[in-house]
């Protein structure tokens, strides 16, 4: 299959009876940076869990590209989700350790990733000794050491302050441009979605379904120039309108 991620008529109903998703279908081509935007509780995270095979759909199919198997998928959670008892190095090493990669080999693979995330020199620090921004960087580093083809991100910067968040946004874009992985980025921020992605998938309130699919045709690298431009404001407005429409949208059958 040519797409990196393909969802076809996906339904998800939990055992509690809660209907999270109804008739969700979209494709993400390899290397695309796609944002998944919607109100809280609309099932955005559920979509990520389905793509990561942490959960099964109740109906429809979820496919990931044939070259995207197993640990080629990485996941970054809203919280840094680090092991508090392990050093930053051992946290980042975890996926490699599970895969049975030797410590020496792991060290070679981890060093450049830590350097690219400004974490070099903090290998021996414990999570409690790091700032919130650094913990999130460590979490991203852990996701990247497996050299994933698909990176799933679940509101990774929501808990950070605005300044740290803006910086991490730019760092993430630089890493994406350097490595060319596919990104599915869940957020409830219109501005973040438009700033980061090539395409914004807009979801309605629960049961979640797609109500908009907008292309953000702006060149990278993006920076302050884009943030301050009227084009950016217009795109944000268009996405906001799509988001608003989701509240009163008709459900698919």
């Amino acid at each position: 299959m040519s797409a990196a991620i393909r969802l076809t008529a996906v339904d998800k109903r939990f055992d509690s009876g809660l209907e999270a998703l109804r008739g969700v279908g979209f494709e993400v081509p390899p290397g695309q940076f796609a944002a998944l935007l919607g109100p809280s509780g609309c099932g955005k995270s559920t979509i990520l869990r389905l793509v990561a095979r942490l959960d099964r759909p109740s109906g429809g199919t979820v496919e990931v590209g044939s070259d995207v198997a197993g640990s080629a998928i990485s996941y970054v959670f809203q919280e840094p989700t680090l092991m508090p008892w392990a050093t930053l190095f051992d946290n980042v090493r975890l996926p490699l350790r599970i895969a049975g990669i030797s410590r020496a080999e792991a060290r070679n693979r981890i060093a450049p990733v830590l350097a690219s995330l400004d974490l070099a020199g903090f290998e021996g620090a414990y999570p409690a000794e790091l700032s919130g921004g650094m913990r999130m960087r460590a979490s991203i580093a852990r996701a990247l050491v497996t050299r994933p083809r698909v990176l799933l991100m679940d509101e990774p910067f929501a808990a950070l302050d605005e300044i740290t968040r803006a910086r991490l946004n730019d760092d993430l874009l630089a890493l994406w441009q350097a490595h060319g992985f596919t990104v599915l980025f869940v957020t409830h921020s219109v501005f973040e979605a438009v700033y980061l992605s090539q395409r914004v998938l807009v979801m309605s309130a629960r049961p979640g379904h797609l109500v908009g699919d907008l292309v953000v045709d702006e060149p990278y690298p993006r920076g302050a120039e884009l943030r301050l431009s009227t084009r950016y404001a217009e795109r944000c407005r268009a996405v906001s309108v799509a988001l608003e429409s989701g509240y009163g949208a008709d459900l698919p059958p």
């Binding site: 869990r49 990561a52 095979r53 942490l54 197993g70 640990s71 998928i73 990485s74 996941y75 959670f77 919280e79 989700t81 092991m83 508090p84 008892w85 392990a86 975890l94 996926p95 350790r97 599970i98 895969a99 414990y126 999570p127 409690a128 000794e129 497996t146």
Partner: protein, 261 residues
């Protein structure tokens, strides 16, 4: 330990002051030593009977740490079984609770009848008292692992063994240590209480038997001396496990809980 000196100084001062007051009161009021002995007499008695008391002390230590070891092994194994299977937990938890809530002095005489070796009977009694905190804490700890970290292990296709070693055991460790601290004190209590129930009999006996023996002969200072040894042992066990906890959890756990713990 970066404590201000007053944190150690104040309790030490109060303790020394209380002992001095006790000494003064006994001397000035002329309290007979067979009612309340002065601290100095208790120490002198301890010194005079050091031989027999040390033998008894070693025996009590043997029961205490033997029971604690069994409590750790039994408690952890049972906790792992509970964590792996709700069915096992449902089936066995009632027994664990019955053992926990029944006063040991009420069960001890029966155990002493059924089990021929007094040492084995005392071990069983002390174990019954000590194992529950380890069991219940370890069960909670094994279930306390961060679910997102669990998802991560699933995503990277960790084996059950990897999940146990790198996720469940470290997550459960602080809970286990908290249980161990409680059980350490309880196994000493269990060892002493069970020996009281057993009475001063048998070839090998512990500090409780020394206390019973001394009370039959109204040797009050000797009762105090044995009591002092038990109390000091309890304090030593408490300090030992606090140190162990600091060594094992030290850096990350202190950071997790914030200062002052």
């Amino acid at each position: 330990m970066n404590r201000p000196p007053s944190r150690l100084f104040l309790p030490a001062l109060v303790l020394i002051g209380a002992i001095a007051l006790w000494e003064l009161w006994v001397r000035l009021a002329g309290i007979p030593h067979y009612i309340v002995p002065a601290p100095s007499l208790v120490l002198a008695t301890l010194w005079e009977n050091l031989g027999s008391l040390a033998v008894a002390w070693l025996y009590t230590l043997k029961i205490t740490f033997g029971a604690l070891l069994l409590a750790v092994v039994g408690g952890v194994l049972l906790a792992v079984a509970f964590a792996l299977s709700r069915t096992v937990e449902l089936a066995l938890l009632p027994f664990a609770i019955v053992l926990q809530v029944t006063p040991i002095v009420a069960i001890a005489p029966l155990i002493l009848i059924y089990v021929e070796s007094t040492t084995a009977a005392l071990l069983i009694c002390a174990w019954i008292v000590a194992f529950f905190p380890i069991l219940s804490n370890t069960v909670i700890g094994l279930r306390a692992a961060d679910p997102s970290l669990g998802d991560l292990f699933t995503l990277y296709r960790a084996s059950p063994w990897q999940r146990l070693r790198w996720l469940l055991v470290p997550s459960a460790l602080p809970y286990f240590i908290a249980g161990l601290k409680i059980s350490g004190g309880l196994s000493l209590i269990g060892a002493v209480v069970a020996e009281f129930a057993a009475g001063a009999a048998g070839r090998e006996t512990g500090l409780a038997s020394r206390i019973l023996e001394a009370s039959f002969r109204t040797e009050i200072p000797k009762m105090y001396a044995a009591l002092l040894l038990i109390a000091l042992t309890g304090v030593a066990i408490f300090l030992l496990f606090n140190l162990l906890s600091r060594l094992l959890l030290g850096r990350w756990h202190a950071g997790e809980l914030g200062p002052g713990r």
